[in-house]
């Protein structure tokens, strides 16, 4: 299976960096996500995760998003949904979400994702 590696792109709309690695099972989305056409960017990622999790035993999903717009927010929930279904089938899932320690809004938002996805998410504040 091919890996996905996308570098962060910063114009007015900002694409996050992506590193989905099928060999290690480590999948990272990092940076900022303010996209105009969110589905064009995220649907291949969702498809990759779905395909990968058909044959994988474990996944480590790491989010380090400083900002994301509301249309991105739905795709994050979709991806977490795919991970949850994998976990229910017996897969091993680890989700880590890094956020700036002063960003109270993001802290609340991650808690809402934990509630919404029913997944355990390790919240890691950084400076």
């Amino acid at each position: 299976m091919e890996n996905i590696l996308i570098e962060e792109k910063r114009e007015v709309y900002i694409e996050p960096a992506v590193d989905f690695n099928a060999q290690t099972g480590r999948c990272i989305i990092k940076g900022e996500s303010f996209l105009e056409e969110t589905s064009k960017f995220y649907s291949p990622l969702l498809q990759w995760l779905t395909d990968y999790l058909k044959q994988a035993e474990k996944i480590e999903f790491i989010l380090q998003l400083k900002y994301f717009n509301t249309s991105t927010s739905k795709w994050i929930l979709n991806m977490l949904g795919v991970l949850k279904r994998f976990e229910e089938r017996g897969g091993k899932v680890k989700v880590v979400w890094y956020f700036f320690k002063d960003d109270a809004d993001m802290r609340d938002d991650i808690k809402d994702y934990i509630y919404g996805s029913n997944l355990k998410i390790d919240m890691v504040p950084f400076e």
């Binding site: 007015v12 105009e36 056409e37 717009n69 509301t70 927010s73 809004d105």
Partner: protein, 176 residues
């Protein structure tokens, strides 16, 4: 006559950024730089204003009734954006033309959002995230996010235009 001039000056004194025209990616870049570079040295407030800017500017690009082609021929919305600074807060406002049919649900949504506590709003956002995305991908969550980010009610106004359409203004305060 002097008092008129003074009043005039007062009305514009607080303006940090104002723009009216096409909301395409080129102008959004310039406005974004203006917000990130010049508004305030308070990083937390800048982030909030920036986040609100991206949500509301995207709404104008996508939903404004008044449209013009950008340099690549794509139809983009025309609208107005205004940022004013006061002692304790920034006031962020956008405006665009719309029809009565499209504005009624938006106004209802604003009233609904304003009636909710922060916890209720978060719950509402969670529910909306689980709903299928609208065809333009905005996910219907933009205004909820704006209210949560600003941590203040959404103010709005609707003015009838000469062509029988309406000009819809949405405004939020962001505390310093």
């Amino acid at each position: 006559m002097e008092s008129v001039t003074t009043n005039k000056r007062r009305a514009t004194d607080n303006v940090c950024i104002s723009y009216t025209g096409l909301f395409d990616s080129e102008i959004l870049t310039i406005l974004a730089q203006g917000i990130e570079g010049t508004l305030t040295s308070n990083d937390k407030v800048t982030k909030k204003v920036f986040k609100i800017f991206l949500e509301l500017a995207q709404n104008i690009s996508q939903y404004s009734l008044e449209r013009e082609p950008n340099s690549s021929g794509e139809s983009m919305g025309v609208g107005t954006m205004l940022i004013k600074e006061y002692d304790d807060y920034f006031q962020f406002s956008t405006g665009n033309k719309t029809t009565m049919e499209s504005i009624i649900p938006v106004i209802e949504k604003c009233d609904n959002i304003n009636s909710m506590t922060r916890d209720k709003l978060r719950e509402y956002r969670r529910l909306q995230r689980n709903m299928p995305a609208s065809n333009k991908g905005g996910g219907n969550i933009g205004l909820i996010q704006v209210a949560l980010t600003a941590d203040n009610p959404i103010e709005y106004g609707v003015v009838k235009c000469e062509d029988n359409n309406y000009f819809y203004i949405v405004s939020v305060k962001i505390n310093k």
